[in-house]
């Protein structure tokens, strides 16, 4: 299955293209604006020697994250999906953050900085390499959130650096805390999640589907 995935929820835009063989092409736009997204898509397609019409499914990370980044990414994704008449699969960004860590741990906690001294967080349990949320996303003070996440977790997300002290304090008696330094969610992880969705449920092109970003506020 050919998947074109746009991950625009963080400061670094990451675009991935997966071929039937499972081979993945990636492009990153570090500190470059939305105006270069189409150029990057074009490059990926040329590198892979396919056309946009060959893509079977479009994947988009819907946040939470950068408000404008999410909307620009989604504008492109909606335009591609609508004009190629191919399904658009939306994935929560927290899942994309958690996904690559399923190789390391069964408990993963994603923590994003929601500003106004709040975190946006969610804990995941890995099952067959796919993160499954164990509760609804949490929004509030970091300490209240940390009190309810499982012990022996791997922590990841943009707020981990900011709240490292709080995390270490909360779990000082546990040796098995690990804080992952990964800075941004990646398109290849988004692709893995889209692929999983495509295998496990029926996905169809629906021009009336109202895919919207998830916002902190």
């Amino acid at each position: 299955m050919k998947i074109l995935a746009l991950e625009t929820s963080s400061s670094c835009v990451n675009i991935g293209l997966c071929l039937d063989s499972g081979m993945i092409f990636e492009e990153s736009l570090l500190n470059r604006g939305s105006q270069f997204i189409l150029g990057a898509v074009d490059k990926l397609l040329k590198d892979a020697r396919i056309k946009l019409d060959d893509v079977d499914v479009f994947g988009i990370s819907v946040g939470p994250g950068s408000f404008t980044g999410l909307r620009v990414g989604l504008s492109f994704a909606k335009g591609f999906s609508y004009s190629c008449r191919r399904p658009l699969v939306a994935v929560e960004s927290l899942k994309v953050w958690a996904s690559p860590l399923c190789r390391k741990s069964t408990n993963i906690v994603v923590l994003l900085d929601a500003k106004r001294t709040c975190v946006y967080g969610q804990a995941f349990l890995c099952q067959n390499g796919i993160p499954k949320a164990i509760h609804e996303p949490f929004m509030g003070p970091v300490k209240d959130f940390l009190a309810q996440v499982p012990r022996e977790s791997v922590f990841v997300g943009s707020a981990c650096g900011l709240y490292e002290k709080e995390i270490r304090e909360m779990f000082s008696d546990s040796e098995k805390i690990f804080i992952e330094k990964q800075n941004t969610p990646k398109a290849k992880d988004l692709i893995a999640l889209v692929l999983h969705d495509a295998k496990n449920k029926k996905i169809e092109f629906n021009p009336e589907a109202c895919v919207t970003p998830i916002y902190f506020w």
Partner: protein, 339 residues
């Protein structure tokens, strides 16, 4: 030639299909005015959220109403300037992705120039040279339109737009949003006296506008400063007071717009004046322009009501006359918040 227009520069999500620049096959506008009402003005974050929710459905409806699919669209015109940057980016990114996917040439269009063009959708044979007065919530400009490829900007507001002044004055007077239609409606049936407010003409011969002063003048009339540091306690205005202030404000604004429009026509020896933008619906402006223009043998052209406020038909219409950009330039085309 069929042109698909896409417009998201402010608070209306719009798509339209126009044939040969003049014949509107469909014109779909999803207005967000209800969501901005309680804030008495457009909230950019709310505008952006609504655009991304509805843009696909708006486009789908525009194509269906025009009985079109992408194979019969020859060109896509999109607003890429000026406007709220976050809002512009949604329409532009959406249009770019479609143009790329379907291999359709893309034309970036200026929102204000499209307003200056909008009367041509109603008056099929209107062509340049003509003077265009664009009066809306975000813009107040005078253009000399020779052909539709380039527009000569003769003057613009140096601070606030006329529609914005209407909204703020309406708020000070306790009226509802949007303020323009509300003030127009209430003043139309009021026959009493008007408060006299100053007219701002700026320097002699200037075709620029300024509406920040009159906002302050209205505010001070309603809430006079008791001294330099403290404000007089809010006093309850009678309905009569409110109407006389509203009327005086409208007279002042309309006088400036009419005089500068006529000055522009005379300076460029033009006998045609087109008006565009939401404030083009204002009945007092129309009345006064008709009166003053007919004295000077200047003909006035208004767009239909649907093409006064923000819409994509004017974008598609103007996009027919302007050249598409090349593939390379299209790839990196960006939105610009200013003119």
């Amino acid at each position: 030639m069929k042109v698909l227009g896409i417009e998201t520069s402010c608070d209306e999500t719009a798509a339209a299909v126009v044939s040969d620049g003049r014949e509107v096959l469909s014109n779909v506008v999803n207005s967000q005015v209800e969501f901005h009402k309680k804030f008495s003005g457009v909230v950019p974050e709310i505008a952006c959220r609504k655009h991304i929710e509805t843009i696909t459905c708006v486009l789908d409806e525009a194509l269906k109403k025009a009985h079109c699919d992408f194979s019969s669209i020859d060109r896509i015109a999109v607003t890429n300037r000026p406007g709220l940057i976050g809002a512009l980016l949604i329409g532009l990114s959406f249009a770019k992705s479609i143009a790329y996917a379907r291999g359709i040439p893309l034309v970036p269009v200026s929102h204000i120039e499209a307003h200056a063009y909008s009367a041509c959708l109603t008056h099929m044979s209107l062509s340049g040279p003509y003077i265009s007065l664009v009066v809306s919530g975000g813009h107040t400009s005078l253009y000399l339109v020779k052909d539709f490829k380039s527009f000569d900007l003769l003057g613009k507001t140096i601070d606030d737009a006329v529609g914005e002044a209407y909204d703020k004055v309406a708020k000070v007077l306790g009226m509802s949003y949007p303020g323009g239609p509300e003030i127009d409606r209430l003043v139309r049936s009021y026959k009493g006296k008007a408060v006299s407010f100053p007219r701002t003409y700026l320097e002699k011969d200037s075709l620029d506008f300024s509406f920040s002063g009159i906002k302050t003048a209205v505010l001070y009339k309603v809430h006079p400063p008791a001294n330099k540091t403290s404000w007089e306690k809010e006093k309850v205005l009678s309905e009569q007071d409110i109407l006389s202030v509203a009327k005086g404000f409208q007279e002042s604004i309309v006088d400036v717009l009419v005089r500068k429009s006529i000055a522009a026509c005379q300076r460029h020896d033009c006998r045609k004046l087109a008006i565009g933008g939401g404030v083009a619906r204002n009945s007092r402006l129309r009345e006064k322009l008709l009166e003053e223009c007919s004295k000077r043998n200047i003909e006035t052209f208004y767009p239909d009501r649907a093409y006064c406020t923000d819409n994509a038909a004017m974008i598609a219409g103007l996009g027919y006359y302007q050249p598409p950009i090349g593939t390379e330039a299209m790839m990196t085309l960006d939105a610009t918040p200013t003119i």
